[in-house]
């Protein structure tokens, strides 16, 4: 199980390559990559702040829940922090399980947590200045499905 934060841009494909190798008993690997949108042409730059150590530990508690609940063989989470330009990946989640339903559901569950309650503080800098962002009503509704 790997849970990491990074200030540098990353390639989700390289992470999937590493994650999927050598798995003779794993039938299913699901991944999710969240990408910073340009928001219809507005050149918004995201700035994500974490509390190093605390943030990984809190994510780790939910990851342990996911491993137990969905019977995962493994999981990996990488989250960008700092300034993120449009088109750059923000978050990558990979889950490995015996069968695909568990892999999909665990990946979905982890993303709902990461987007709604994980210890990050998010600022958007656009042409009209900057603002701190709260989870959307949809993020909360997604989280409440579990």
């Amino acid at each position: 199980m790997s849970i990491r934060l990074t200030e540098a841009p990353f390639d989700p494909g390289a992470l999937l390559t590493a994650f999927s190798q050598g798995r003779t008993e794993t039938g299913a690997v699901a991944t999710f990559t969240g990408i910073a949108r340009a928001e219809a042409g507005a050149t918004a730059v995201l700035e994500l702040e974490a509390y190093p150590g605390f943030t990984e530990a809190e994510i780790g508690k939910i990851a342990d829940q996911a491993r137990e609940r969905f019977g995962l063989h493994d999981l990996a989470i990488l989250h960008r922090v700092g300034r993120i330009a449009p088109g750059e990946p923000i978050v990558f989640v990979a889950t490995a399980a015996g069968h695909r339903r568990a892999a999909f559901e665990a990946c979905d569950f982890l993303m709902d947590y990461l987007k709604s309650r994980a210890p990050f503080w998010k600022k958007e800098r656009g042409p009209d200045g900057e603002r701190w962002i709260e989870p959307t009503a949809q993020d909360h509704a997604d989280r409440d499905r579990w």
Partner: protein, 79 residues
């Protein structure tokens, strides 16, 4: 001297991210901060602001040691 950390909007409001402050407890620390910056003092007691001591969330007052790390965590936005 506790190491005090502010995150997100609290950092912007205070104009600093990290300071060393002498305080025997979280309650004393809140008083010290409110005395020098009333707006920050109010914000630290605002809705949804959590306090972590040595990276564990605490409720109510907690004694601080010489090397304690105290973090004020405004509502988390998710990633």
């Amino acid at each position: 001297m506790a190491r005090v950390l502010l995150f997100g909007p609290l950092r912007d409001l205070a104009g600093w991210r990290e300071r060393r402050i002498d305080a025997a407890s979280v309650a004393v620390l809140r008083s010290v901060l409110a005395a020098e910056d009333a707006a920050l003092g109010a914000a630290l007691g605002g809705k949804g602001v959590q306090v972590a001591v040595d990276q564990a969330v605490v409720r109510g007052d907690v004694a601080l040691g010489a090397d304690s790390e105290v973090a004020f965590l405004p509502p988390m936005s998710g990633g």
